[in-house]
Assembly symmetry: D2
Homo-oligomer: 404 residues x 4
């Protein structure tokens, strides 16, 4: 047992932090200003010039495709090695894309890498790894409680050499981005099969007739442009039968495989976000004076800072352990640990950010400090990929199994 990062990780952290210091933090205002200017001109969904420029720099420094473990196409990092880098990227919500490490592309690339044919890989994985196109994941549906994935109603019906796809999906993040060229779509190929064999995943090119992005969904008033979250209609969308991943009825299996790494990435980014909120809280309260002394010296502030430090450090160990388990025993054995971080990290982040908001007074809920936005992101992750309650039920059942 050893709680220190390896020299390899430390070196990567150093390089990534240096990049953040040189290119990300100084450009935060610029990024939001560019989006705002695009919005004012009538289209907030345009990719920013800034990110495209920074992508070049990151790639030149080898800070590119850091995710993708166990593949020669990635940077050769394990989940445990990559996780602490996610934490750093999480400190600035838009930065992951600069390193071609942003969701849902990472999950989609990992899915293609593991489950797609060579043909599909060539067509879609290659340009994604190049950062030339982006992608979308279409699973959640507005009409049903999709946290119970067996509820999903979209249909994928074989018709000769093609599949015909119908369904309405939402929370398809990135669907509004003009660079989004491909969807990975989940739906039922066989509603009569046993419960976990009904679903399949299939690759759907964005420009296939019948695919309509209906609208963008805000979270807490934020449109999250230029990325955003689409509601997408699929009407009689026809794709080649070869676009199916792994085979009919294996959608559930892919979903399980895909979600593990994604949760680790999300959770570690939330830890970075929470660290930054705590840092903001410390800095702010050291300089604001109320009732005769700095807010930082009030014991209620000290209590919260202390609790935030405890919560963050605990959550980090939990996530790193889950990454370690995924690397060593696989995400099937690590199912409980992966579910645990999905509950622990977003709740922790919501709490820490909420304290930071409170410490900033009215500024905390405004746009001036980024905290309300951070909260909206963290809060959303208590729902994305299944609400807390679903994961806690799963954890509870796995725990009870020991005693049955």
């Amino acid at each position: 047992m050893d709680f220190e990062y390896s020299p390899k990780v430390k070196e990567l952290q150093k390089r990534l932090n240096a990049f953040m210091d040189e290119y990300i933090y100084p450009n935060e205002a610029k990024f939001y200003a560019e989006v705002e200017a695009n919005r004012a001109r009538g289209n907030a969904w345009i990719p920013t010039v800034l990110i495209e420029e920074l992508k070049e720099k990151a790639r030149a420094q080898g800070l590119w495709n850091l995710f993708l473990p166990q593949s020669e196409r990635g940077a050769g990092l394990t989940n445990l090695e990559y996780a602490p880098l996610c934490e750093i990227m999480g400190r600035a919500l838009w930065s992951a894309e600069v390193f071609n490490c942003s969701a849902p592309d990472t999950g989609n690339m990992e899915t293609l890498e593991r489950y797609a044919s060579e043909e599909l890989k060539k067509q879609w994985l290659a340009p994604l790894l190049e950062g030339k196109i982006r992608s979308c994941f279409a699973m959640t549906e507005p009409a049903v409680a999709s946290s119970d994935a067996t509820n999903i109603e979209a249909s994928i019906v074989r018709d000769g050499d093609e599949y015909v796809i119908n369904g309405r999906k939402w929370w398809s993040s990135g669907a509004n981005d003009p660079r989004c060229k491909v969807f990975i779509f989940m739906g039922k190929t066989d509603p009569a099969a046993e419960k976990h064999k009904q679903q399949s995943m299939i690759v759907v090119p964005r420009d296939t007739p019948g695919v309509t992005v209906l609208r963008s969904l805000p979270v807490f008033g934020y449109d999250d442009a230029p990325h955003g979250h689409g509601e997408v209609l699929f009407e009689n969308v026809r794709v080649p039968a070869s676009n199916i991943l792994l085979g009919e009825g294996r959608g559930f299996e892919i979903a399980q495989g895909r979600l593990g790494p994604g949760r680790i990435h999300h959770c570690m980014r939330l830890i970075g976000l929470a660290e930054r909120a705590l840092e903001d809280m410390c800095r702010r309260t050291l300089t604001r004076v109320a009732f005769g002394k700095p807010v930082a010296e009030q014991t209620v502030t000290l209590e919260r800072i202390a609790n935030a430090r405890i919560l963050i450090d605990q959550a980090r160990f939990l996530v790193l352990n889950a990454a370690h388990m995924m690397d060593t025993v696989g995400n099937k054995v690590a199912a409980k640990e992966i579910a645990m971080i999905k509950v622990a990290a977003p709740n922790m982040a919501c709490q820490v950010i909420d304290w930071a908001i409170q410490a900033h007074g009215g500024g905390g809920v405004s746009g001036d400090f980024g905290l309300a936005y951070a909260y909206a992101q963290a809060r959303t992750l208590r729902l994305a990929d299944g609400p807390d309650e679903v994961h806690r039920n799963q954890i509870g059942k796995l725990e009870l199994k020991k005693y049955k």
Copy 2:
């Protein structure tokens, strides 16, 4: 002791509920659509046609200026009688204006009624009571922890027959509204006076040279248009000396007098908002099925519904008691009770709405159910008019006084 509303109140509740049923709930989508259309046309700050139309109807039904106790200019209701009506209005966030009962106008009208000269009343109170103009309150400053009101730095300097006003204020809600014609401004007339005699309040016409609305502050990602929250610069703004309220050095005293009723209104509206969120949660969970049965039948859902019911009912009694005390012993004696509701109601509402969000899955954070917006409002009220911590400190000190 009697926990039932009086016949007078019940009759008003009935009439107000009928109005809500006929004119407010059916127009909710229309209201937001009108604002959105204005925003799309480049100006979200335009007053809506809808509200102006509904104001006529409400006034015709005598549902007008229901606040203002102890004044023949109001509807003759005590705080305790008015409070349950606030709860009903709070169910739709934009509805209070329809009844000319929306903040900050209510607080400003009450302030003018209690502390302004007849001349000022004629000039500003009369059109406000008519719903012809709107108003603004300029107290909080971005540069200092304004929750400690003694920190406020804006200056009001006597110069002959005038006062010269300088300062930067934010969270001046409604400053963006073109109908806003007047500010009540708080600042220091005598920085050398004893701590609670330094501040004064003064009436500042919106069109006085030197008043600049710099921007609108969002809460979370919402601009709260067409009302909004302004940051306002006052540079060498000159107003007649007679615009001062009550006299130099009495700003703190006015603030205390003003804040009591405002807190009751806010808190009761939050109770209405929480009731509606609970109702949404019940309806939603009854119809969504996950893992084989309606979400409403899961015991974790029942737990939250039960806790929400307990929290709401407790908070309501607390607020009604504070209103009763304000009516009977005045807000000085009721200082502790008024501070208590300021802590209890927003925290309750945040919790209840958060549960409702969770029960709605991804829809909960979107714009489709109004819950994320409701949360943003409730969360902001943990800060507006002083953060929780300031109120709790005051309550704690008042409690300890018993034993000194």
Copy 3:
């Protein structure tokens, strides 16, 4: 709506407080010393001389049998009038008996008053009202989750003119007291009947052959002597058929009727207990200095005192409202409100007392300040008469009913 106690209640509060000041608070140490001395002599279950003496005084002052509403045998108080007196008694855990107002006798007397024959009343209610004997309630069973009352397994079988009773009960408070002369026993007369008609209640004299008090159950490390909580075995216990209350199959109905008032009494006593803990916390923190200033001046202390004040006041209104509803619409209609207080008050008390413990340092968990004992009592009431979860389920279901 009126939040002030009636003149009648205020006068009773004054008299009861005067009695507490003169006879209860000054004798607290004496009471525990007498019990301790009895324990040291080998029998802690002996009734104390102190309480017997004080009973005379209380009775002489008319502070006797204050509970029992709607009966000429009681003091003529409604639940709403009696509730605030319970709060006062709750400040000293052993004081209720002095006024012949202690559980489970109050509940048993109320049960006999409402449901027993004149013969049974004469035999058992009369001496109970005189404070000459005590009684026991035998419902909960160790072998089943008794919170689901339909689980109860004890049997009551008709045999000629008698019923034959078998079962094992626990948490039969007071069974160890030599003055305990009678049990009210719940069990199944007809296991084949519909679910809520299987149970009956029957009066069982303590000295009937086959009744064995097996042991006393501690709560945390307290035996609660001289009252205590018995585990009792009933083996082929024979009582006259006329001892049945209300008739076969009506046990559930009686239980419902009985529990309402008991919950109000318990909850109000907990409010008194919490008030006293808060008072202790204030006094203690005002006098203890740490890190350069009184603990009372640390903002974390002020936060807790404030929150305690809010929690207590909220809970009190909730309980008083439930009492009011029980008086006006009956406990069937008030089922939700009665369940709500059963959840709210013990949880509130646990929280407030826990803060008080923390403020007392090591002393808080010791026997020196009574706080750990108070906590044990409050914590137990989260389970007695059904755990929180059962009540929350019921509340949730009742709330959902509105929308079905």
Copy 4:
């Protein structure tokens, strides 16, 4: 970074678990029965025959003095290696003594090992390591908030070749044990010195004239016999000047050095205790049926089991990391981490045990399942060695330091 225990640790865990299975768990009832029998005979403070017998067995198996890192007198384990063994011992509250690993002896032995003269080691450390005598730590005082160690008032005054000691101490655990032969005492040698140089520690043989054990303090009604917590009076107690540890004015320094390992031991034992409570909760809820299905299948139960699992695992990593830091960078650098576990672990344990209590119904607060007793222990550790608030203040200040 590696989250697996080393082979050495795994082997020790295996051996220790085997010992627990063979000798501890099967003897739990026997242990408490022996104490109870002693209590019934008038003296609960007699050492149990059972533990003395088991000590022989543990020693024979090499499961002895496992604590004491960096000393040839110990078992050669680092803190990180010993910590997981503490967790196992923590599952049965009385078991640590069997392995000569119980507080306060471990802390006292570590203190003597690090800071005592060879002479004192020979006299006191040797028999302690043999398990022949026991010892006591006298620091906390009833008269002052001892969490601020500078408040401590006891005096240690040089008089020729002796020190004269006066003071009243409480929470001197083990003082009642007849085997307790020596105290380590903290008091002021120089009240005029700078704040952190006033205190010294000195060795006081139990039988020195002037040492009086006044009473035993209960926690939540438990006397914790045969160990217990003494209040001890020191009146003009004279000991040789050579009994001082490290030198005058270095008491604070020793306290800091001493407390680190002790916190790790306590925290890991609490993790074991919480694990066992969770196990009890799982087993119980799987077998109890309420409202038609096992309590374990109610989602509220699953939520708590899941949260318990998350809380426990998080806390364990935090404690192990602190142990690792203590081994690698020392407890001065690890001050924040050590303070963090002191807050995190007891609060976690209280929460988990509280849920387990709730899941056991009335049995949970009784003596039948050990849960109320476990709660009392965990709750006490939120106060022992400084209340949460003191540690959180320290953590908060250390965190803020980064930004000053």
